[in-house]
Symmetry: C2
Subunit: 152 residues, 2 copies
DNA sequence: CAAATTTCTAGACTTGGTCGAAACTGATGA
DNA sequence: TCATCAGTTTCGACCAAGTCTAGAAATTTG
């Protein structure tokens, strides 16, 4: 278990009050504004993969709460701070993954569905040496799948 | 070695005349038009990763040869026919990989550079079972790296 | 309350796709 | 061999979605 404090807390504590979320955000150096707290509430309600558009729609379900620009700013901020993981599998949009523990993905190219594969279900051996002067920024393993009945 | 005939030929034959390329295209059921031959010439000159925009620029370097629409149509066609592999690593654009043998990638998130890792340098063990009713459409393994000096 | 930060609206920008008209390809048969 | 013609491909000119900017207005912090 080597994930960050913020992540570990998120994965072990039940977060359901704005107080909790606000302090979580403060811990990673993010000022907890109303918009950020709402976005975090939605995102961290459970491990899930959401697009910016989905977050926007959910945040504003009952009346306007945050603008599109704020959604993008906030998701980018959360990603930089390590609260969410950006998953690049679909050229048309980024998925924000609220599960930041190490794991891999199935991506159904027919349905666009993205699902998790626990890290220990797959073992990588013989990992390549990184090119000189570089350091790891994460490993993505994506099993692209297709619904078997889908028009060939 | 289980790649398709077209691929194997590309990897073993030196292709430098339009005749060669035209017959390669015919073999996979693609009518070899002038635009398609030019695009193929550029793409298959060597194993490389190119964006649609890069192909467009190179094809039209000395005078207009193919329109943007044709570039996108052709790259999509080549991908469907298995002549190139789409690599999704950068949310802002698709890379078309003229190397269709099984292999993995380093992606430098600072420079946008994409480089190959030979398949046998990495071994995947304990591969997960595919979800019921699905079949594989490819496995992507991407080592995201960062230049070590890059601003934190 | 003032300074610093954040949000918002509006619009720009990029990748990639669509549409209908014009050009091309390749099979046919005179 | 060549004209013809149906089917295919290309093209320019939009268009759409996702994402990012800019500057003004609002909010947060101390
Ligand atoms: Mn797109
Ligand atoms: Mn982008
Ligand atoms: Zn995930
Ligand atoms: Zn490659």
């Amino acid at each position: 278990m080597t994930y960050t404090h913020a992540m570990e807390t998120r994965n072990t504590l039940k977060i359901d009050t704005d107080q909790d979320i606000a302090s979580q955000l403060r811990k990673v150096g993010i000022t907890p504004t109303q918009q950020r707290v709402q976005i975090a509430e939605i995102l961290f309600a459970r491990p899930q993969h959401m697009s910016a558009d989905q977050v926007l729609a959910l945040v504003n379900r009952d009346g306007p709460t945050a603008s599109k620009a704020t959604i993008y700013n906030t998701l980018g901020l959360f990603a930089r701070k390590g609260l969410v993981r950006e998953v690049i599998v679909d050229p048309s949009k980024v998925f924000y993954d609220s599960n930041t523990t190490i794991h891999h993905h199935f991506f159904n190219v027919d349905t666009g569905e993205l699902t998790d594969i626990p890290a220990d279900d797959l073992i990588l051996n013989n990992m390549p040496e990184l090119p000189p002067g570089t350091e790891s920024a994460g490993i993505d393993v994506i099993f692209r799948i297709r619904s078997r009945d889908a028009r060939h």
